[in-house]
């Protein structure tokens, strides 16, 4: 059963965004995405301080099956990356919403998160993608 996390916002490219208390956002990929990818073996994370625009490539997930780009869901500056994924890339599969986060952004404009899908819209989006 693919899990959809209720408190997150989702991009069409299957990244999720969580708004943190300090106004930064955390970014990862959804359960739907990690299941489609299969076993993750390497993750390439963006550089700290990198300035990225929404839709820019922000990293790569390399699974047994294929390599997939990760896109910035909103514009901002990279303020943290999840170094756990260097040694334990499989965390993306086992905990996509919590321990398997990819990077944190200082958003240019927190309001941009409203351009993303809420959990219901994303769930519908995933169902339609499959047909």
């Amino acid at each position: 059963m693919v899990e959809f996390s209720g408190d997150l916002h989702y991009a069409k490219s299957h990244e999720w965004v969580r708004i943190e208390d300090d106004g930064s956002v955390t970014v990862g990929i959804s359960d739907h995405a990690q299941e489609a990818l299969g076993d993750v073996v390497f993750v390439e994370l963006p550089e700290l301080q990198m300035v990225i625009a929404a839709g820019d490539e922000a990293g790569v997930v390399e699974s047994v099956k294929a390599a997939s780009d990760i896109y910035a869901p909103i514009s901002g500056t990279v303020i943290a990356v999840n170094e756990l994924l260097d040694d334990a890339p499989e965390t993306v599969n086992t905990s996509p919403y919590i321990d398997g986060w990819f990077f944190k952004l200082q958003p240019d404009n927190l309001g941009d998160v409203q351009n993303l899908m809420d959990v219901n819209a994303y769930e519908t989006f995933c169902e339609n993608e499959e047909h």
Binding site: V41, E44, V60, E62, V64, A67
Partner: protein, 288 residues
């Protein structure tokens, strides 16, 4: 084919067209007064059409056996597990089989062959018997695996996959299959002239094993460079579950060294190694 002196002995071979291109790879057994040939399923139509065409005019009958199935049971416990669910006579037959040898028991043909680099058997049997055998094996704890697992196993074992590692555009000499070709005597096998010409000119490309020890996965068609010169490309690649790094086969210019692979515009060093990468679940390749 003269290497098939003993009935039941399996010979891995290439089927060539007139220009020495590989039509398929296959296993052939001496079988009574004929031969049993096991080809790839994906090339079935092409192979049958070719063989019909080539045998026409000769005193030779070709019989396809669509009612038969083949089950491969592989791994350290394979022989024990199969022996436990078949008749005592067949269990005894399995115990006596040497690697690459097969034997008949009623309508079943059981051989110590495989596409995984592990111990095991491949059993050719009537389709109806295959269902019962499958269910008995699963009930005894043997796990069915899919093509993803098959691909990492055969690649770890350094075995070619037709369509990826070779096709009609290359000869066996360029596909790590030179040992399957014998030029002894004056047998007029199809493709002989072209292969001899290629040997005379000097074979220009070879299929080699590569390992990627950096973070990354080798995938088909990634270019291989020696310095700034592209010398070939990956034909098959995977993340080896046993070795936990990338492995692959690549067709490159003979003798090319100081190799790098280009992955998403970055060049990473790769090491050429002698195949196989893995045998019986353990690394066997060595870095020079």
């Amino acid at each position: 084919m003269e290497r098939l002196e003993v009935p039941g002995k399996a010979l891995y071979s290439a089927m060539l067209n007139e220009t020495g291109g590989v039509l398929d790879d296959l296993i052939v057994y001496l079988d009574g007064d004929g031969y049993r040939i096991v080809v790839n399923c994906a090339t079935r139509e092409k192979d049958l059409a070719w063989m019909s065409q080539q045998t026409s005019g000769f005193d030779c009958q070709l019989h396809e056996r669509p009612e038969l199935a083949i089950l491969a049971i592989q791994g350290p416990n394979a022989l024990a597990k199969v022996s436990a669910v078949v008749s005592p006579e067949r269990a005894d037959l399995i115990a006596k089989l040497k690697p690459f040898i097969g034997a008949w028991s009623g309508e079943w043909f059981i051989a110590r062959t495989g596409y995984t680099g592990e111990k095991g058997v491949e059993i050719i049997l009537p389709g109806t018997d295959a269902q019962n055998l499958w269910q008995a094996l699963v009930a005894s704890g043997v796990r069915p695996v899919g093509l993803g697992a098959r691909d990492t196993l055969r690649l770890e074992a350094g075995m070619n996959l037709y369509g990826s590692d070779m096709d009609e555009s290359v000869t066996p000499l360029e596909s790590n299959m030179a040992v399957t070709v014998s030029f002894e005597g004056d047998r007029e096998f199809l493709g002989r002239a072209r292969l001899e010409a290629q040997l005379g000119e000097g074979v220009e490309r070879e299929l080699v094993g590569l390992v990627l020890l950096e973070r990354g996965v080798l995938r088909a068609h990634y270019p291989i460079f020696s310095g700034d010169q592209q010398v070939g490309e990956i034909t098959s690649g995977a993340f080896s579950p046993t070795l936990e790094h990338g492995i692959g086969l690549a067709r490159i210019t003979v003798g090319a060294d100081n190799l790098t692979v280009e992955i998403r515009n970055k060049r990473l060093p790769v090491q050429r190694v002698k195949l196989p990468f893995v045998r019986n679940g353990k690394q066997v390749y060595q870095l020079v």
